[in-house]
Symmetry: D2
């Protein structure tokens, strides 16, 4: 009854998922690994004391009869190829972000999965598995704040390296909001606009930071997301849902309330890896349990596609400074709400 | 040494200021009153046991030698006339909002005051006198959050009557933010845009509610103000200043922290009159002290004019749904920063 | 209609009250001053531009026909004498803490006031005039938390000088809680116990700091008050009322919520003078209005006596480390609840 | 490498731990179960689809060579017998609270474990595994608040049944604080006193509720714990550590901040099972990992004994209303700090 997993890509995130499966989660074990650097794959087997075969060819790993499900944590541009290979073999596959590097690539995966006839793909968007976002969604569903009308959000990082570019504010940062807010509202985006506030002196010369993205949904909900990746003070994720009769905020992470040096307050995380650390466990356990129960329920290939389409429009809106339409076509019945 | 004040307009706000001068503040007394309804003026004298003369003609009150300073709390469309009359007599005048019902009217007052050669006018914008906004400005000035880049604000009322119209969201509601945010940032607006979220089912049929106003300042600070006058849950004023290295929020009003019925929290005010109640005292005491000290420091005729120009642009932006420029001409040297 | 006040004692607190009457409050003015140091009295007249006579003899000031009410802000050991003199002349008197330096002295004032037949004395306990304590009392009265069963309190100062002694933790510090908690609960104390936690290394060698005082009331409410006068981090007053169905906390002072340097929080005051600064205004205005309206309502001579009796028991409990009874005799009908 | 566990007692908590091992944790599986009611044991095997043998004799289960470690979740009075049996076989054993129903019984387990020569026993105190208490201990260790001087704690339940008695406030409720506060402070208790506030009208006729327990530690730290098991409003655990230079509070559970119906606040849990739900997982995973790594680190038999001795003194203090000494003898070197 233990799910046998093959892992493609043993970099940082691959190893983290392997540790998770091996030491923290229930019902699965890693039986095969692959990496573009075979030595790294072998080192990973040693480090985590895995009883696993090392495949030097990723496609051989996908085809390995011992492998019942795939974890794709390789370099982004290779994701589409390996996910399509998994689908071709009819094997469930958990693919880290991005599902593919273009919306077209995502769409090919959607089409392949529909052609296969059953959901096989889960995309590694972890925020819908975060206890805070789940509690926020529960409040919305409870009717306590009425129908949502507006979302005010912020995604702040202490700082980024010089290689971080203006479009990455969308593709690497906002992408999480693009996913989780669709899920939170059970709605889709119809337009995007980007405005550029006064630039922070802490941002590198080529980077527009901060930015504000304005989104509109099919139901008319207006969303503003502040993206500020050199905010200095911490890693801070804010989401405030304004409904017809109340306002609900994403919980702050639990923290010791401290009185010291004339200040009363809590600690703000500075390392993004700590912020959603529990969600990664729940996400991957959800994938394992979904396979066991015969139905994946996490972020789908369609969700990966939708995020990619929205991100493309936002990047375009960065350039044009106009309101850009977001159009992803009709939602296939294969992916019910 | 007691300042002798004449009051034009003894409606609700006029009476409230009379009570304030008589029972709470120091250094002034009401010596003359006028109202379009003379009986109401007489009743006010009786109610507050004033040693004051009732003038049936407002201009006679302005001219009365016993009157050293004016309080204009009459109907809005009459403000310009009485303020100009006070300037003509060289008497200091505190005028409730609006200074005049058009930007042109405000400009005429500005020009008259400049021609007179000394500040005589204070406009009844009270938020710069609120301890919370002052503390927020102190934090900005302290450099703790670095240069301001963005402001996220909300102005929420529980509900409004059917007579409240879409432009009133600007002229009656946003007008307070238009004043106080200029003061907070020591900056001016250059453009405005209005977006309309999904309409609340609690809003009357002719009213667009909520609305979001996007402002830009000369220094590039981006401001979003949510106006939501049927939010049901309370009267709630939010202002979050995002600086280069930190974020500062307008304080919530002090309130008992209550644990009861499975909830942990404080009370939100529902009556707007309670929210800035202390600020009215400070504001009017500031006017009295300013006259005593020979220099008014509160919101000036120029501030009244600037708010009027910005409001006009926002109302236009409601109609056009485009980004509208805000242009008020050069700041006269008469009104130093 | 302006109340004419004579002030005995123009030290720091005397001057502060003079400033208050002259510049902030309504309905009174200072017409006479006295100080053991006549030059200081004269300087005070100059500093605040008072139209006041300087009496070199305090009793002459009390007797001065121009003086309608007294403010006693002289050295503590002289309070009893001057308050009794005011009562003898039938003049209302506001006396700073302590009403007298012994419970017997307080009792003599009580007896004199009763003999006079009308309330003349208000003691300078300001916390019942603090908006936070008033809001807390309102919550109790509202029934939202049911009948009070326990109070958990703390009185913390950043640090004290070497002259601060162990009994002063009661007579200078706890005295405020001894007054305000009686008022809050509308109840009296029946016993006191003091326990001594591990001593802070920041306390001077002769001082027991912190201390915890355990009080019991006639209705069985149990109160614990932590007194910690070298807590380093700020001036912090806590009061949590545990009722049968809920818990209510004294509001924290309103403060900007700041996100900076990986901390989310507010500022804690470090200067005790700031903590209840508004309450001093309300307190003294209450005295002025009470005289105008013919009935003093603030802390009475009986309240001053009750605090003194309780303080004596607490000091004894510091020494014996036993539970000490607090007995103040029956409340005279002259002082209704 | 999978740890094979035998479970004695398949009641509610036994089943919950079985579910945990089977569905949530990593590295262990249930291979044998026993219950005084054999049918319940068999039903449990079916319910959780265990590949496990049902022993009708608990001692046979302990002796079963397939069983590598024991979980004792049977009726409290049987714990001592089964834990001693496990020690006799040299098998690690996780025993739910209480370790034994008397301090003497706990001491016999301590002696048996010492005689065995290696730690085998972990007691089911879960709070030291709670992320909040761990964060609080980290703050203490960081030196940010200086040496702890006082702890102010509360343990509140919405309500209890009529079978809940006054001593159970110690043995069922305070027992958690008795364990976790020793761990938090790395200290031992030397005395206890209990005071009884005004009784809540919601408490049953025979129950003293609330109660306040005052503890003193070897280092002089003073602890007050309010126990209030009919507080109506929620399940609320408070712990405030006052150090020489700051105060740190146990984090409130993360919760959506809601603005609705004139209130601003979060939700308080009402079900105690939710409050430390994550800690149970961490606790039992810690037991499994400890066996794997050759060293148990969780609450020891000595901790179980210490809690029992302290509880006995508190129960005695309830009766005598005096300060009762807590004496547990010297800590054996076998149990290093």
């Amino acid at each position: 009854m233990t799910l046998q997993i093959g892992v493609i890509g043993t970099g940082a995130i691959g190893q983290d998922h392997i540790r998770r499966i091996t030491q923290a989660l229930s019902g699965a074990r890693v039986v095969a690994v692959n990496d573009i650097n075979p030595q790294q794959a072998r080192d990973t087997v040693t480090r985590y004391q895995l009883d696993a075969i090392v495949h030097t060819d990723a496609h051989a790993l996908v085809a390995d009869p011992a492998v019942q499900a795939l974890l794709v944590t390789s370099w982004g541009p290779t994701h589409e190829e390996f996910v399509l290979a998994a689908i071709a073999k009819g094997k469930p596959v958990f693919c880290e972000k991005p599902l593919a590097v273009t919306a077209e690539g995502c769409r090919r995966i959607v089409d392949a999965e529909i052609a296969h006839g059953k959901r096989l793909v889960q995309v590694g968007f972890m925020r819908p598995y975060d206890a805070g976002y789940r509690a926020l969604k529960d409040v919305i569903s409870s009717g306590k704040i009425g129908a949502p009308l507006m979302l005010h959000c912020a995604h702040r990082n202490p700082s980024v390296g010089d290689s971080y570019t203006t479009p990455m504010a969308i593709t690497d940062t906002l992408i999480h909001e693009l996913d989780v807010l669709r899920w939170l509202l059970d709605d889709d985006y119809v337009s995007a606009q980007v405005v550029f506030p006064r630039k922070s002196s802490h941002a590198s010369s080529h980077l527009a930071d901060p930015q504000i993205v304005l989104l509109e949904t099919t139901r008319g909900v207006r969303i503003d997301v502040e993206i500020f990746v050199n905010c200095q003070y911490g890693y801070d994720i804010q989401c405030s849902v304004v409904g017809e009769s109340g306002v609900a905020n994403l919980p702050e992470p639990a923290s010791v309330l401290l009185r010291s040096e004339a200040r009363l307050g809590t600690t703000i995380l500075t390392d993004w890896k700590q912020r959603f650390i529990d969600a990664y466990d729940v996400e991957l356990q959800g994938f394992i349990n979904g396979i066991r129960d015969g139905a994946l329920t996490g972020p789908s290939a369609w969700d990966g596609y939708a995020a990619a389409v929205a991100a493309d429009a936002c990047v375009k809106a960065q350039e044009t400074r106009e309101v850009e339409a977001i159009s992803m076509g009709a939602r296939p019945a294969f992916y019910p709400r």
